[in-house]
Amino acid sequence: MPTEYGGYMGKVLQIDLSSGVCSEYPFSDRERELFIGGKTMAAKILYDNLNGTEKAFSEENLLIISTGPLTGSGAPSSSRFNISTISPLTGYITSSNCGGNFGYYLKKAGLDALILKGRSKAPAWIEIQNDKVEIHDAQDLWGLRSSETQQALDEKLRLKNGRVRKNGKICIGPAGENQVLYSCIVSNERVAGRGGVGAVMGWMNLKAVCAGGTREVKVAEKEKMVKHTQKWFRYLKKHPLTGNQLPRLGTAGLVSPMQMRKMLATKNYKYGEYGDFEKISGELLAEKYNFVNKGCLSCPIKCARTVEIDGKKVKGPELETLVLLGSGILNNDLEAVLRWNNELDELGLDTISCANTIAYAMEANEKGIWKNGLEFSKTEGMMELFEKIAYRRGIGDELAQGSKRLSEKYGGKEFANHVKGMELAAYEPRKAVGLGLGYAVSNRGGCHLNGGYLTILEGLGLAVDQTTYHGKGDLTMLFQDLMEMISATGQCLFTSYAFFPSPLMNHPNAWYTKAVNKVLPYCGCVVRIINKFPEIACFHLPVFHHTKGFEYVTGMKMPFGKYVRCGERGYNLERELNRRFGVDAKKDVLPGRLVKEIQDPKNPASRVPLKKLKKVYYHARGWDRRGLPTERLLRRLKIKEE
């Protein structure tokens, strides 16, 4: 539906792959005001169309690719797009966020979002060029790896003058085609990795989508936005995290701090530190292998690495991959991880879930409950193993199901490291208990970002007490809501790190930083007031440029408090949708290892006090004892109408 706001293209397109019919999906300005875009817009569409009986692999499920109003607006790191659907791994909502340029090109084609449903009779790919939508046969693409697919698509989009028409692409690899439950969707070198979105696309018999066009993203107050963007870029470039650490070391730079803080997932999360961590560190990656830094469109941070392996330049691994395929399986061969990372992207497998599932299988083998031949430290034949998973051959067919289903079959649930079926990220939460809470309550399963990323306070960035539960419930809620909204607007979450004033990051030994570290856990009641009454913050914060940027692009009023409230609405909306699929407090659990086993024998507090944390968190959120939003809260947030 047409819009009066800037940043939006005013159209959501729905394609039914069963019938080939395309239609416009109505999404009003009122809905834009409340549900903004990206993952929250997608959650609203799912909320309005699903009743809780739908399965991931069914004609009723929807695969929604959505952008935010800031996507393609020129704001820093604003090329993101989101993919939401019912996850085959969890059976609940998943939202997978991706950089690159597809979001920008989807908007150039005049679309805010694309809804895919149904199932094509034969393999297909979709071409969108402005208002023209064509569904093509993809028999010749089926079976190709992700880079081959994208190259082949470029050939199909080659113009008579020999140049390739400007376009953004998403595609699946062989893993998605074979519906490996944790397969991903690839866009250039970037990946929408989590929750098995690639498997849903594979089930739909859809190999790829290409989008492009000539539409412009309208900015409500262009001159003000240009000036604000320049200031914002300068701020990010000067900040120690977004201007120094992330550009120079990438996310891999966290390996060493995680080791020091004992939160480096090691041997399937049995330990929080790894003797050979230096051999898989971000410093070594930067010194020996990094060829050039890369960034998404309009990103000043440029956190992506490009490494050279066997004379070929390929994408370097992110922190999660490095840790889970390194210390997670006791592998100290960095070069091997670089190769595996590339191979997993080519096959279209989520590196996090894949590595965790293999680590589970190794431990199950070690304990003798599932004799499968996989051993920690023994990394020969790993490339073949990935291929077996992607093509579901032999043991690969079992591993393709993820650690939850395997632990239900073979036992060892206490060391199957997943939440709601989705495997955990690389942070060992017994020394970051706030993140432990975040993992447990996250709407999409074991995710550090959807979980609020409290590790940035618990040793990575600031240094509050890592094992106390004080204040963590309220802080988790605030961070989750902020990150929810940043994602909804189409920006990268890394821009939020500049929220922490530079002096605190630059001077960790200064008295004021130490004071903040000591006091922060006991500020729960102050954070609670912000969480309960965010509207009192009816101003813009000097360290948080997002709110003004949003106003200049869209023309909507968005003070800091309203920004937080919109994030809260998005988080509760996903939770309410998940309630229909059976989520409640009983599903917000961590593997037994993390809540029962003490990580450090000298420190009895080194496990996640999940019960206490959940109690405070539910109370902070205004949820009932079952961990569900109350009717009153849903009405107050306008998720349900009065």
Binding site: P240, Q245, L460
Partner: protein, 74 residues
């Protein structure tokens, strides 16, 4: 004599992954970090045997000290 390892962006500036020092306290060690001024070294986190230590901590002979820049998110 202590062995000092450097991590984070400070290591890229120092140009060496590790060095040896005969400093007895962290305060003394700050003056000896290659490539970094005392002021810059003062802003590094210090760990001995995996435990964070303060500026007055006295090193034992043979200690392995880790100096690290504050990190961020990933």
């Amino acid at each position: 004599m202590v062995r000092v390892k450097i991590f984070g962006v400070a290591r890229l500036k120092a140009g060496v992954p590790s060095f040896e020092s005969d400093a007895e306290t962290l305060q003394e060690l700050w003056k000896t970090v290659p490539g970094l001024t005392r002021k810059e070294a003062k802003d590094l986190l210090a760990f001995v045997d995996g435990k964070a230590v303060g500026k007055k901590y006295r090193f034992q002979d043979g200690d392995e000290v880790v100096l690290m820049s504050p990190a961020g998110g990933g």
